[in-house]
């Protein structure tokens, strides 16, 4: 009993001692959509539902196609601002959905340029990038 307690505590302390928590800066994110989308704005609550797997449609009935970034400050900022989740919580939410068969996460991109290119081409697409990233050919939506 004592032996396993000592092993457990020693390994726990070793694990904790090698951990460093990095503070990450955050940049503001803008929400972009395919240029054929007729709306100029989107509700914050609808964004949360959409990116957490609830089917949503644009006002003209067209299906909304959400896309995400895999990581980065715009990703962290968007999730925190509109979904009230950290990147880790968002990832855990979708892993839970995947492995219990309850849903498929939105398509994700490594770079903001790839995401912009996809949103430009795909009808109904909606995503987010940092405000500094070039975004010609897509529509910037106001979030209410």
């Amino acid at each position: 009993m004592k032996k396993s307690l000592v092993v457990f505590l020693t390994l726990s302390i070793l694990t904790v001692s090698v951990v460093t928590v990095f503070a990450e800066g955050e940049a503001s994110a803008i929400v972009i959509a395919n240029p054929n989308v007729s709306q100029d704005s989107v509700k914050s609550a609808d964004l949360a539902k959409l990116f957490l797997g609830k089917n949503q449609a644009w006002s003209d009935g067209q299906k909304m196609v959400p896309v995400t970034l895999e990581s980065g400050s715009a990703h962290d900022s968007f999730l925190k601002m509109y979904l009230k989740k950290s990147a880790s919580q968002f990832s855990t939410f979708w892993k839970q959905a995947i492995f219990t068969g309850q849903g498929i996460p939105p398509k994700s991109f490594k770079s903001e340029a790839e995401l912009v290119d996809y949103v430009k081409k795909v009808a109904g697409a909606i995503g987010y990038i940092s405000s500094e990233t070039p975004h010609e050919g897509v529509k910037v939506l106001k979030v209410e």
Binding site: M1, K3, S4, L5, V7, F8, L11, S12, T15, V16, V19, V21, K54, N55, K63, S86, A87, S88, S91, T92, K95, Q96, I98, F99, T100, G101, G103, I104, K107, V122
Partner: protein, 426 residues
């Protein structure tokens, strides 16, 4: 064997359909995970030969899903699991077509996960929680196969309320039980033990010093009866709070034919009767397994508590080839389990959790042989978004959840379980 063949034919058909319906804008999404664990106990073998330390504790999962159109999604999760004496099993964890009727309701057909309590649906996916083991005092390993998933279907949904939602799910079908699982073997052993006692006490032809024992099992079948599970969960009446209840009803028929032969008295070397066979037919019926659940998440803390009560009856009949009246045993019992847990996410890298659980194999017969009281402390470290390492220790009083068929000596009342697990997911 027939069941396994039918299952793999179904899986191949399912995968063929998924690939045949490939279109440019509906991709096949593939995910998976690989985990390797280690468990060690100070006394008593638990799930494995854990007294000497066991690495027979791993899972591999491949998950395939595809959105066919706006309403229909197909998916299957294939799993390989090694757990101690059970060995390695390959099986379909779940696989179904999911059709959304509208924004709030959908149906699923195929092999569907059972919504038992808050966490049963992802009990195999340890990357989704801090601890290695869910509290076994409610999420009992003995019932895992019977309430993991049903072959049938479900109706599910989420109804918006003034505040939050009311989530519901009704699952119907038969449990995906297998003859060679550790649980089935343990149950068969328990059922036949009483019969052997009866035989040795009531067979007049037995000379002194000669006993009857099982020489071989000649065939075994496990057939699940129609089962049902229903869950109602209130979500976010207060932000971060969810609570509700689940009722599961299931039954299983288990049949095994044994060859019994006398064990000779080494002194007299006498043989009074020839060997004979006995067919054991057992029907276990759980008219209700109820779970009440509550979970509250605030900032970095999650608090959870669940209470489970299972009312079961097992009727077992033994028909011997020697003739005579069948021997009949019946057993009714109420299993009770509960736990309370606190989980703290220190950062995206580190979380810890502590829980205390209590289990009683028979509520009317409380002693340490029948109870298991477990205090667990777990620590999880996420090496990266894909890698996690966990370590936990359990301080345990009682052996109510210890498998008797892998413990041949005397059991110890106070014992420890140390579990370590590394998981990679993609």
């Amino acid at each position: 064997m027939k069941k396994k063949l039918a299952l793999w034919v179904w899986v191949l058909g399912f995968l063929s359909f998924i690939s045949a319906t490939a279109t440019a804008d509906s991709e096949l999404v593939i995910h998976g995970l690989v985990s390797q664990g280690f468990m060690s106990t100070s006394d008593n073998n638990f799930l494995s030969k854990s007294e000497s330390g066991s690495f027979d504790f791993n899972e591999t999962i491949v998950n395939l899903q595809k959105q066919i159109d706006e309403k229909l999604r197909l998916g299957v999760q294939l799993m390989s699991r090694t757990l101690g004496e059970e060995g390695t099993r390959f099986y379909v964890d779940w696989g179904y077509g999911d059709y959304r009727l509208n924004d709030t309701t959908g149906i699923r057909l195929g092999r569907v996960k059972v919504p038992f309590g808050l966490y049963n649906k992802y009990r195999d996916i340890d990357l989704l929680r801090t601890s290695v083991f869910l509290p076994t005092t409610v999420y009992m390993e003995d019932y895992r196969q019977f309430i993991g998933s049903f072959d049938g279907g479900s109706v599910y949904g989420s109804l918006p309320m003034k505040k939050g939602t009311l989530d519901f799910e009704f699952v119907f079908g038969g449990a995906s039980a297998e003859e060679d699982s550790m649980v089935a073997k343990d149950w068969f052993n328990q059922f036949s033990a009483g019969y052997e006692g009866f035989l040795n006490a009531n067979t007049p032809a037995l000379p002194a010093g000669v006993t009857l024992g099982k020489a071989a099992g000649l065939g075994r079948e496990v057939d699940a009866k129609n089962s049902l599970s229903a869950q109602l969960l209130f979500n976010n009446l207060v932000e971060g709070l969810r609570f509700g209840a689940t009722r599961t009803v299931f039954g299983v028929d288990m049949n095994e034919t044994y060859l019994y032969q006398p064990t000779f008295n080494p002194v007299t070397n006498a043989l009074a009767i020839p060997g004979f066979t006995t067919l054991m037919s057992s029907e276990s019926r759980y008219k209700s397994i109820d779970v009440g659940s509550v979970e509250y998440t605030r900032d970095r803390f999650t608090f959870a508590a669940e209470l489970m009560a299972a009312h079961g009856q097992t009727d077992t009949t033994f028909n011997s080839s020697l003739g005579g009246a069948p021997v009949f045993f019946t057993n009714t019992h109420t299993v009770e389990g509960k736990y309370a847990m606190v989980d703290y996410r220190h950062s995206d890298k580190i979380s810890w959790c502590v829980y205390r659980g209590e289990y009683f194999a028979d509520r009317s017969n409380k002693n340490w042989q029948n109870w298991q009281k477990d205090t667990c402390l777990s620590l999880r470290y996420n090496v990266s978004a894909d890698w996690s390492i966990k370590i936990e220790n359990h301080w345990i009083d009682g052996v109510g959840l210890v498998q008797r068929n892998i413990n041949h000596g005397a059991l110890e009342r106070d014992w420890n379980l140390l579990a370590i697990k590394a998981t990679y997911n993609f």
